[in-house]
């Protein structure tokens, strides 16, 4: 890379290009000097590269802005082209709804304003254009309120610029910026507060009362107000242009041409709640909220930080995660080397976990954040691992309230993380979970983590890893392998079925074709032994042959799938098939899931058969569903959920909210009077508000009974499932409303579905 290129890329970093100096002023002078010399020959290369750097290294934008400001003194035309390019880019981004580019280019414009490259009033015009579009959108009469997410996004962008240029704007165009702020305040009063309880990490109880948590925009507005009352001083945003103010002032401020926001989408042709719901869903997908705050640590860990600094650091971190995906070294080094004068490990942890657990989905696969956390533990071995451990403990304490999907992600993350650090963890701290009932979420969490660890490793190793808490061995998955019915037992005579199984096995090993085997079964086995035995022997034997590995399984299915298909042509038999699979692999949840999934892939079982099996009496007890989105499936699924929940949920009058469900004692009045009064006392104390984490460890006495926990978990899954497949479900929502989500359905069930769909 050319030297001016390296200087641009590395500006602000402690590196050899800048003789390991950390002084921004030095960096800027060096960089500017080099560019100035090259401008004559290489301006066509330099221009796009500056823009590229500004776009992909947004935490360095103040530095780039200053450099451009200095270049403006040298070569006005060059900088004019930069402005023109930026404007074209920005307009493109608005037209195509490229949220990151819009946001970052606005920051760049702000900083260019600080370095006198563009006029403050031009920036204000940009703000006003966006604000006006937003205000129109949320207007009940002139607008299309389903598109509020876009309007919110525009206003967020405006507010996001203020940490970078608020002081300058207030100084240079006080009236104009005041108008904008007043306009934003007005906007906030007419827009609808968003309360996406379906997306919150923890169970939001409606019984919360008066204190409704602020949504993202309201929260940001509050932080900006605090900032403005502090004279717009932001620690986390460098202001290198101040060192060059005397020179920069001499530069010519360019105009920034007009921009326009895209038209708002048309209202649906038939106005209905459903049609608007669909539009809103689309808008949310296109203009998503960037993050949701996950407060893991008590406020004391971040109390030195100004509210606005938290916002800025989050922005920095999210942008590094975005732009350095795939570049492990740079990602980690930028994450830990932000241009801020304070420590921020706790914020770092909270931000990454908030992405890992983000609902409905994080921007990247969870495995990405797993990798980042690992790399940061290695980059900051003295500080970060302890912070991560603290986060795990804090989340573990509150796991009963954590969304079901978040729990799953946490389990997968934690087991994977530990597998990279030799499975070392102070398990003795959690040994107490054995005293909890077996459905208690904390106990289930520990069990699931151990199960996943065993899958990534092997049983004996994990047993060894918990040697400081040997009682936890009880929670390890069964050590055994397959549960083959027809293998014959030592010392027992071989049964007829065992013999049949052996014969079939030999045929398979003898490479008989599926056809031949089908004929053999039809002529010899079925007539003599009947359907049930035939099915069981054939399925178990084939599974056994395919048991040695994943590859063996798919080979058996490929070669002999036809045999299975012949025996199980209809739903009833497919349900029996799945039951056999489940029995054979009862000691290995992973293989059960894989076998059923592969059978689905080979069309040996239909979705409906799976649903039926899932809801069969034996299985209702332990819920797990995974499905492909079809209307009939959702209908049948939701219907089944609804019915099953109706049977078990207490009457709506007694349990209309989740809080009531948790403390419901239903029929068993026979309980100790003392016990029930203890619970009532807990209830009055309530649980801590969700907007701030529990300060330190509270002693959460887990008191929920099995039936109620089952309902809570199931409702949690209904919500998670609705949320995950929201895009696929929305097209069928009318049918669902008519057939399932009726007034007769239990309110808690309906709430769970709506919550997941963000209705």
């Amino acid at each position: 890379m050319s030297s001016w290129g390296s200087l641009l890329l590395r500006i602000g970093d402690k590196c050899s290009e800048y003789s390991s100096s950390s002084d921004f002023k030095d960096h800027i002078e060096t960089c500017y000097g080099a560019l100035r010399r090259e401008l004559e020959h290489s301006s066509t290369d330099i221009l796009p590269f500056i823009l590229l750097c500004a776009e992909q290294l947004p935490h360095k934008i103040p530095l780039y802005g200053t450099v451009v400001g200095l270049l403006n003194l040298e070569d006005e035309d060059f900088v004019k082209k930069i402005i023109e390019n930026t404007q074209t880019s920005f307009q493109d981004a608005l037209d195509s709804g490229s949220c990151d580019r819009i946001r970052i280019l606005m920051r760049f414009l702000t900083v260019l304003m600080c370095s006198k490259v563009i006029q403050p009033v031009s920036l204000v015009v940009v703000f006003e254009t966006l604000l006006s579009s937003a205000a129109t959108t949320v207007d009940d009469e002139k607008g299309n309120t389903s598109w509020q997410p876009r309007a919110d996004f525009y206003v967020t962008c405006i507010l996001s610029c203020l940490p970078w240029g608020g002081a300058e704007l207030v100084e240079q165009v006080p009236e104009e910026i005041e108008r904008v702020l007043v306009g934003i305040q007005a906007y906030l009063s007419i827009r609808r507060h968003t309360s996406d309880s379906g997306l919150s990490f923890f169970e939001d109880d409606e019984s919360g009362g008066d204190l409704v948590a602020k949504d993202f925009l309201e929260d940001l507005w509050e932080r900006i107000q605090v900032l403005s009352s502090n004279g717009w001083k932001v620690e986390s945003v460098p202001r290198p242009h101040l060192s060059f103010e005397a020179q920069l002032v001499a530069g010519k401020s360019h105009e920034f041409g007009p921009i326009s926001c895209p038209e708002q989408p048309d209202l649906p042709s038939i106005i209905s709640a459903v049609a608007c719901g669909k539009q809103k869903h689309d808008a949310e997908l296109k203009y998503p909220q960037r993050t949701r705050r996950l407060n893991i640590f008590p406020a004391s860990k971040t109390e030195d930080l100004q509210p606005i600094d938290r916002f800025v650091v989050e922005e920095y971190l999210l942008d590094v995660l975005l732009f350095f995906n795939g570049c492990r070294k740079e990602c980690a080094s930028f994450m830990v080397g932000l241009p801020v004068p304070f420590r921020y490990e706790y914020l770092l942890a909270e931000t990454i976990f908030s992405q890992l657990l983000l609902l409905p989905q994080p921007p990247f696969k969870p495995i990405y954040y797993t990798l980042v956390i690992m790399d940061l533990c290695k980059a900051l071995p003295g500080a970060f691992p302890a912070v991560v451990a603290g986060a795990v403990r804090a989340l573990f304490d509150k796991i009963a309230d954590l969304d079901m999907e978040c729990r799953t992600r946490l389990i997968l993350w934690f087991s994977h993380h530990l597998s990279n650090f030799q499975f070392i963890w102070p398990w003795e701290e959690w040994a107490y979970v054995l005293d909890l009932p077996k459905w208690a979420p904390q106990r289930v969490f520990v069990q699931e983590v151990l199960e996943r660890e065993v899958r990534l490793s092997y049983w004996d190793k994990i047993k060894q890893s918990i040697e400081n808490a040997p009682t936890l061995e009880e929670l390890l998955p069964p050590k055994g392998g397959p549960n083959f019915k027809y293998g014959g037992e030592v010392g027992r005579e071989k049964t007829e079925q065992d013999a049949l199984s052996a014969e079939l096995s030999n045929k398979v090993k003898g490479r008989q074709t599926a056809r031949e085997i089908i004929v053999w079964i039809e002529e010899n086995i079925y007539p003599v032994h009947g359907l049930e035995v035939t099915l069981s022997v054939v399925v178990q034997t084939l599974l056994d042959i395919g048991s040695k590995s994943f590859t063996h399984l798919i080979t058996v299915l490929e070669r002999y799938g036809q045999v299975i298909a012949k025996i199980c042509p209809d739903q009833d038999k497919q349900v029996m098939l799945i039951a056999e699979v489940s029995s054979y692999w009862k000691n290995n949840a992973q293989m059960t899931a894989i076998a059923i999934d592969r059978m689905m892939g080979y069309r040996l079982v239909s979705n409906l058969a799976i649903v039926r099996w899932v809801f069969s009496p034996e299985n209702i007890e332990q819920f797990h569903t995974s499905d492909r989105p079809w209307e009939v499936l959702f209908l049948s699924l939701y219907n089944n959920f609804s019915n099953v929940l109706m049977e078990r949920l207490p009457d709506a009058s007694r349990a209309g909210t989740l809080q009531e469900l948790k403390t419901n004692h239903g029929d068993s009045m026979a309980l100790d009077l003392e016990e029930s009064s203890a619970m009532e006392v807990d209830d009055e104390n309530g649980r801590p508000k969700k907007s701030r984490s529990n300060g330190g460890r509270t002693t959460n006495i887990y008191n929920v009974r099995e039936k109620e926990q089952w309902c809570l978990s199931t409702l949690g899954y209904v919500k998670a499932f609705s949320r995950q497949y929201a895009s696929e479900i929305w097209p069928h929502i009318e049918k669902l409303d008519v057939e399932v989500l009726t007034e007769d359905a239990h309110p808690l069930f309906r709430k769970a579905v709506y919550s997941g769909l963000r209705r």
Binding site: F324, K461, T551
Partner: protein, 250 residues
């Protein structure tokens, strides 16, 4: 994303000699591939472990374990086939350089599995890298093959009178790998009787530990039967030897 730092031109430093085509075609196939090659695995890592880790990047279509040509046992590499390109890229991005079964593994785009590529190409049947390396790696059969042959030759010259204990390496590495009680028979036992016996003979660790763990030694003497001691954690109890092993490796 950050095109600024990624060296996208250099998609893979490894160039497979068996590929029939130009460098350009090679790179093109890597750019479209939905197969990853995984290297530096332990011989004892199972398909299930691979499945569990690699499904976190996406849905897996197939896993093909790399095998020693002679013993037909895993020799430390494998292929994972995904359904989508994006998942393949994620596997390379997020899993390469991280730990599988206590070892940092390498994950690369592969130009595409073809029958025959599952066999090791080293003279001794395993991978080429295990022919010439000089370090002691308990997860990959101990010393490299060349070194092993040297040691064997030396032992033949000098009879220490140790009798059936045979030979032991001159240097005793102080630290066991996690398989502790060493077992040359790790991984799925699907590889049949021949496999067990051959590993038994070659495995340095068996010999080295014979002085340390007599009980283990005793149970090892039963090794001709398929009922393995519990030391091999991945052992599964059905004792059929698998005749159609080769064809399974499609």
């Amino acid at each position: 994303m950050a095109s600024l730092f990624k060296d996208s031109a250099k998609i893979s430093a490894y160039r497979d000699r068996r590929f029939n085509g130009t460098q350009e075609e090679f790179e093109q196939s890597l750019l479209n591939s939905t197969t990853v090659y995984i290297g530096n695995m332990s011989f004892y890592t199972t398909e299930e472990q691979v499945y569990e880790l690699f499904s976190r990047a996406g849905e897996i279509k197939k896993i093909i374990m790399g095998l020693d040509k002679n013993s037909k046992t895993p020799c430390g590499f494998c292929f994972v086939l995904y359904y989508s390109r994006e998942d393949t890229e994620d596997a390379v991005k997020y899993i390469s350089g991280t730990i599988l079964d206590d070892r940092p593994i390498r994950v690369d785009f592969d130009w595409g599995f073809v029958e025959g590529r599952q066999w090791g190409r080293g003279r001794s049947g395993g991978q080429v890298r295990d022919e010439y390396r000089t370090d002691y790696d308990p997860g990959r059969g101990g010393y490299g093959k060349l070194v092993q042959r040297e040691l064997d030759a030396q032992r033949q010259l000098v009879d220490y009178g140790a009798g059936s204990l045979g030979s032991f390496p001159p240097v005793m590495p102080p630290h066991y790998d996690k398989h502790g009680g060493g077992h040359g028979h790790g991984g799925s036992h699907r590889h049949g009787r021949d496999y067990h016996r051959k590993r038994h003979r070659d495995d340095d660790r068996y010999v080295r530990e014979s002085s340390k763990r007599t009980s283990y030694n005793e149970s090892r003497r039963d090794s001709d039967r398929d009922s393995r001691p519990e030391k091999n954690p991945r052992f599964r109890e059905s004792g059929n030897s698998d005749d159609d092993e080769e064809d399974d490796r499609k």
